[in-house]
């Protein structure tokens, strides 16, 4: 069942383009990554789905219902973690969390406490006195305390220290295992790679590609690095090899094809180090950013 369905969604801010003719769907239980350069339209898409802004044309449905018409009702089960977190002046953390909880029909107190402990929140400090990262943590708890079925994450880990980042991802994975669908917008490709099942790429307002992460990586090249004495790069000039170069005593290349051919070549010489890895999302998609 599609949790999110977007059909030819377009948004113009006056004459400036927001997004153009964007269509995709997100299935239940997926972690869907949404990546693209700055200004591509990632936030615009999320804001349209949350009916913070209204489309110029096209539509979006969540849980099968139009996201604008049924907005308030749908948001009972939606959690939103925006990229920048601001709260009311002089409000304490615990006050904000309780205020947030008061909007939902369920009893959130237990979950609230659990999350607050997990993210190590200082409940009785004023939000405005917190550091950026700590504010983010408040934002995370605020977005999750009502146990929503769908999560919108907009650059969620910016500002978190590595330990917190790990905890956060752990949290997301756990939620996902319980059936929560996650829509994850980021331009930290490493994160997306670690977490997502499918990925959509948006650039200059249009969807460039939507694909499964595994498929993308498998259909892609392997990165090979071989370090050996007196190694000539031409030794590895095989069919399926590209970007062959020699650097500092190491030969590197990308290879697509039967890996055994490469293994044979390596086996025939004495090497000091061999590395064969899958390309990162970054390497696959860098050209999309250009």
């Amino acid at each position: 069942m599609s949790v999110i369905e977007v059909n030819h969604l377009t948004k113009y801010y006056g004459k400036a383009r927001g997004i153009i003719d964007v269509s995709f769907h997100v299935d239940e239980g997926e972690i869907f990554g949404f990546i693209g350069p700055n200004g591509a339209g990632k936030s615009t898409t999320i804001r349209l789905l949350l009916s913070l802004i209204y489309p110029t044309s096209g539509s979006g449905t969540i849980f099968g219902k139009d996201c604008i018409k049924y907005g308030p009702e749908l948001r009972q089960e939606i959690g939103y973690l925006p990229s920048e977190v601001f709260y009311y002046e002089r409000m304490k953390v615990i006050d904000l969390l309780r205020y947030s909880a008061s909007f939902y029909d369920k009893d959130c107190t237990q979950r609230l406490q659990e999350l607050a402990e997990l993210m190590e929140l200082e409940l009785h400090r004023r939000i405005e006195d917190l550091s950026y990262g700590n504010k983010k943590k408040v934002g995370i708890v605020q977005g999750l305390l009502h146990q929503p079925k769908l999560l919108f994450l907009d650059e969620p880990t910016a500002g978190l220290d590595p330990l917190m980042q790990r905890k956060f991802f752990q949290l997301i994975r756990e939620e996902n295992q319980r059936g929560v669908t996650v829509f994850f917008s980021s331009h930290i490709l490493g994160e997306v790679q670690r977490l997502c099942n499918r990925v959509g790429i948006i650039k200059e307002g249009r969807i460039i590609e939507i694909a499964d992460i595994r498929t993308l990586q498998q259909n892609n090249y392997k990165k090979v690095r071989v370090a050996a004495d007196d190694l000539d790069a031409a030794y590895f000039d095989l069919p399926g090899v590209t970007n062959l170069e020699r650097h500092d005593g190491t030969v590197r290349f990308f290879y697509k094809g039967d890996i055994n051919a490469v293994m044979h070549k390596i086996g025939e010489i004495t090497v000091s180090d061999v590395t064969i890895e899958e390309p990162t999302l970054e390497e696959i998609f860098m050209h999309y950013y250009e």
């Binding site: 308030p72 925006p82 920048e84």
Partner: protein
């Protein structure tokens, strides 16, 4: 209407409400306490005013006013209270929704499972409740201080009552106009110049209105719709003018709802 939003908004406004209430109460106290020294020159005053050209009287809001009487004097000084009440209500109106965008809390509130209509209604009611508290303070202090300082002069209760009740609609005017204007403007960085412009602007219009386009300008400003001197003298409201205020309020409120439900909430950039 969402109770939790209402409570939160009301709490956030409370400090301001108390400040304004105290300020207006003090203002009334000071002016009313000076009544006796004024009334001493009562006879002189009345003779004087009989001789004034009408334009001078209107310019100082004294046309037909008997400053020697309790209500005549009060009606005159009430103008200052009205200016304060106008600015207060205008403040609330202009910042009602714009504060979410100024403090960037819109992403929080508007991603909650509440519709825009509910949000706006809750905020409006919270602002109104705050204003009502101020109004109650004004009523109590007016009655209280008048009775304290009037010496042995008497006054009619009805015109005073009408005058005091009029501030409700008076403030609604500024609240709703402030609100609708804030939704028409792209971005409000500082509310103070706007509310001062609306509050003082309407006051200036009332004072100088008779100079420019005559009645036209007078019809616009609520300072004329709820002219204290008029109410005191006639013991009644100038109904056609009050209706103008009422229609402005209705149009502004309807407009505000329409604008707010369609508004694109910009992201924190």
């Amino acid at each position: 209407m969402s109770m939790n939003i209402f409570k939160q908004e009301f709490k956030m406004n409370l400090r301001s409400v108390i400040t304004w209430s105290v300020a207006v109460a003090v203002l009334i106290l000071v002016f009313v306490s000076l009544f006796s020294s004024f009334a001493q020159d009562a006879e002189l005053l009345n003779e004087m005013m009989a001789k004034f050209p009408e334009q001078l009287l209107t310019a100082f809001g004294l046309n037909g006013v008997n400053l020697a009487t309790v209500l005549g004097y009060f009606g005159f000084v009430f103008l200052f209270a009205q200016i304060c009440l106008a600015i207060q209500a205008a403040n609330y109106g202009f910042s009602l929704v714009s504060i979410e965008e100024r403090e960037w809390t819109a992403d929080f509130l508007l991603a909650k499972p509440v519709g825009r209509i509910q949000i706006l209604t809750s905020k409006l009611l919270a602002a109104l409740s705050g204003l009502t508290i101020t109004n109650i303070v004004v009523w109590i202090s007016s009655f209280g201080f008048i009775n304290l300082f009037r010496g042995d002069r008497t006054y009619e209760a009805k015109p005073l009552l009408l005058l005091l009740l009029s501030i409700v609609v008076f403030q609604l005017f500024f609240l709703s106009v402030g609100l609708v204007v804030s939704l028409l403007v792209k971005r409000i960085r500082n509310v103070t110049p706007y509310s001062m412009a609306l509050g003082f602007g309407m006051y200036v219009l009332s004072v100088f209105g008779d100079m420019l386009g005559e009645s036209i300008l007078e019809k616009i400003t609520p300072f004329k719709h709820f002219d204290p001197n008029y109410i005191i003298q006639h013991g009644a409201y100038d109904l056609p003018l009050v209706l103008i205020s009422a229609s402005v309020i209705v149009i502004s409120l309807v407009g505000s709802y329409l604008l707010y439900t369609r508004r694109d909430i910009p992201a924190v950039v």
